[in-house]
């Protein structure tokens, strides 16, 4: 089928775009997870001076469009004197927003651990920090694995927004191929299939992780 | 002048004949047969899993059964026999719904509709099924609420009522359909001890008014007081059947003897 040949011809272009997408995910995900854990500790602090501004910033970041954040970094960075490539602008914006999302997910996990676990921890003599890190946190992490899996899928999809600032990721590579060849929207159906594979793998991975961590417990 | 007396109904109100039911491999009802006369109060007792609740739910066809017949006020429930009597034809949804109105059921967890007030809960059946006007239904519902002692709670939502109050509304809701028989499925098991008595009182009142009742319960003392007949279920079969005093005094089976002993020691311990 000439259709199949056509798609075959597109693949190298897509592959480069795919690599860019993967790079973005690889940059943003660990950062968001790590910083998200840090931020949630601030959010859970008992000092109003710490949790109040944290709460405000988290809520603000969760209620603005991702693309807008990308634009802020894209147009703002030159003003601060740095000449960041588009891909890094996207990475910073996505990492920052997903830090906020993940902080909320972690907070939900901690809230879901029953109060009785705290009491049990104190009863065996642990101090509050000890209770948190050794009793509550492991249980919270277990509960949120599926929710983190969902967030990872959202992150993968959000990387497509860098197409709006000219970064040739998987999505934009589709647009370029489309402009170069006779095909039009069919290109994006193939692109959609690529994303579907990627997100399915991510979901399956987290599903496996959930089962694995349950067994370990 | 004739002293016309109503002819005693010779036909039993409930007939259960050879009813068997399995959940997959597990047979929970093994060819159960018994009858309940009009106005009789029959109490089903027995260990958990012995099939008593399942049997109750078969009577108003909330559970299907693989073999046997159930007749409520002379009408077959769930299946009609073909002319030869050999084949079972499943009844239509309309038939089943209509038959359910003859038997009122009260559940262990009350199952009131949370988005309707007490009086609306009671009115739903009469208005939607019997086609009564809202005004008629409201009047009747108000009377029923008064009967169960909750006249002032008409416009309260279930979430604003205690467990015992919710259960009494549930009883009123079942009575609103003017059923011929009332089925009670462990109606006090989910209640705090202090709230059990008010519900049992309502049941007692109903029994003195001549309502035919089939009650599944763990409340042994209540069972002895109120029952005309006691049926002891064990692993899907009825192994004792008789008036409470007879059954307790002369248990025919070892199982029931053991059951009685446990009850009596619990009673003395209390």
């Amino acid at each position: 089928m000439s259709w199949l040949n056509m798609v075959w011809g597109w693949l190298p272009e897509f592959f480069n775009g795919f690599l860019v997408t993967l790079t973005l995910v690889g940059m943003c995900l660990p950062v968001a997870v790590a910083f998200g854990m840090g931020v949630v500790l601030m959010r859970l602090s008992n000092h109003a001076l710490i949790w109040a501004p944290t709460y405000a910033v988290i809520e603000f970041l969760r209620n603005v469009p991702t693309f807008l954040l990308i634009l802020v970094v894209y147009y703002g960075a030159p003003l601060l004197g740095s000449r960041l490539d588009g891909i890094y602008c996207g990475a910073i914006a996505i990492a920052v927003q997903h830090t906020a999302y993940l902080a909320e997910v972690f907070r939900g996990g901690v809230s879901a651990v029953p109060r009785t676990q705290w009491d049990a921890g104190r009863a065996i003599g642990l101090r509050p920090a000890g209770v948190f890190f050794r009793v509550v946190l492991p249980q919270a992490v277990l509960k949120v694995v599926p929710a983190i899996g969902n967030q990872v899928v959202v992150l993968i999809k959000d990387t497509s927004l860098v197409a709006g600032i000219g970064v040739v990721d998987l999505t934009l590579s589709g647009k370029l191929v489309m402009e170069r060849t006779a095909a039009s929207y069919e290109v994006f159906i193939v692109i959609a299939a690529f994303y579907l594979v990627l997100t399915t793998l991510a979901s399956a991975g987290f599903h496996w992780l959930e089962i694995f961590s349950r067994k370990r417990n | 002048m004739n002293n016309a007396q109503p002819l005693p109904t010779s036909r039993p109100m409930i007939e259960v004949r050879g009813v068997s039911k399995s959940f997959g491999e597990n047979q929970v009802l093994k060819s159960i047969s018994f009858e309940v006369k009009e106005g009789e109060v029959v109490v089903l007792i027995g260990p958990s899993g012995s099939g008593k609740s399942t049997l109750l739910r078969c009577i108003n066809y909330l559970e299907d059964f693989q073999a046997g017949e159930i007749l409520v006020d002379g009408a077959a429930v769930g299946y009609n026999s073909s002319a030869g009597g050999s084949k079972r034809i499943k009844q239509s949804e309309t038939e089943i719904a209509r038959l359910r109105t003859k038997a009122g059921m009260v559940f262990q967890n009350y199952n009131l509709f949370p988005h309707k007030t007490a009086i609306q809960n009671i009115m739903m059946g009469p208005v939607l099924v019997n086609g009564e006007s809202k005004a008629e239904a409201r009047e009747h519902a108000q009377a029923l609420l008064a009967k169960v002692g909750l006249a002032d709670k008409a416009n309260h939502y279930p979430s604003q009522l205690s467990g015992g109050q919710q259960q009494r509304v549930a009883i009123a809701r079942a009575l609103a359909m003017r059923p011929k028989v009332m089925l009670f499925d462990e109606v006090t098991s989910a209640l705090d001890p202090e709230l059990v008595d008010e519900v049992l009182k309502t049941l007692r009142d109903l029994s003195t008014e001549g309502m035919t009742m089939i009650i599944v319960t763990h409340e042994m003392q209540f069972a002895r007081d109120v029952a005309d007949r006691l049926l002891f279920f064990y692993q899907g079969s009825i192994i004792e059947d008789g008036p409470p005093n007879d059954v307790f005094a002369n248990p025919k089976t070892e199982r029931f003897q053991a059951f009685v002993k446990r009850f009596q020691s619990a009673a003395t311990a209390a």
């Binding site: 807008l68 634009l71 709006g164 039009s184 994006f188 | 309309t94 199952n111 099924v129």
Partner: protein, 213 residues
Amino acid sequence: MDVAFLNINYLLKAALVTLEMAVATVVLSFIVGTALGVAAALSGRLVRSVLTVYVYVVRGVPVLVLIFIAYFGLPRLGVDAPNYVAATIALVIYFAAFVADIVRGSILAVPKSTVEAGLAIGLRWRQVLMQIQLPLGMRLALPPLVTTASIAVKSTSYASIVGVWELTYASREVVERTLAAFEIFFTVMVIYFCICYPISLCATYLQRRYAAA
């Protein structure tokens, strides 16, 4: 911040367009999604499977890709629609899937015991659906539906990538003209926040009131 004030009228006009798009998206996707969700809850395996596949695809594909498919695809199918129509169609197709999934799940989440209570007083299945499953199901569905609405509002900004003139597009125009990136974007973020945060507060309130115990 003078730059922001000078341009505020322009930006607010654009915010209105964003709101129009958001309302259209939410209303249409909720109508379509609810119909699909109710149908799936009541139907057999076939319809339910179709819905599952639809939700799976939409969940795994970025909104932007769907917008591109609509934007480039509609002309090819002979439909000559303005860019905002194409974008809205894509958004509706995207969010209707989530709405359908939520509605289907909520109707099925109505406790079996409550349904049985309806059957026990002689209600027919159609009456049980209308009087019990739908009212109670929609109550359960409200919190996640409101959250979905909030996400939909934010997604309208992606339409700017195919040239739709709304708040994000307008803010880019102003920034490119004035170079006052931080002031302008901050103002625009505040505008988005003012639209979305009340919605998310609504969702939290509804979650407390109506979520399954």
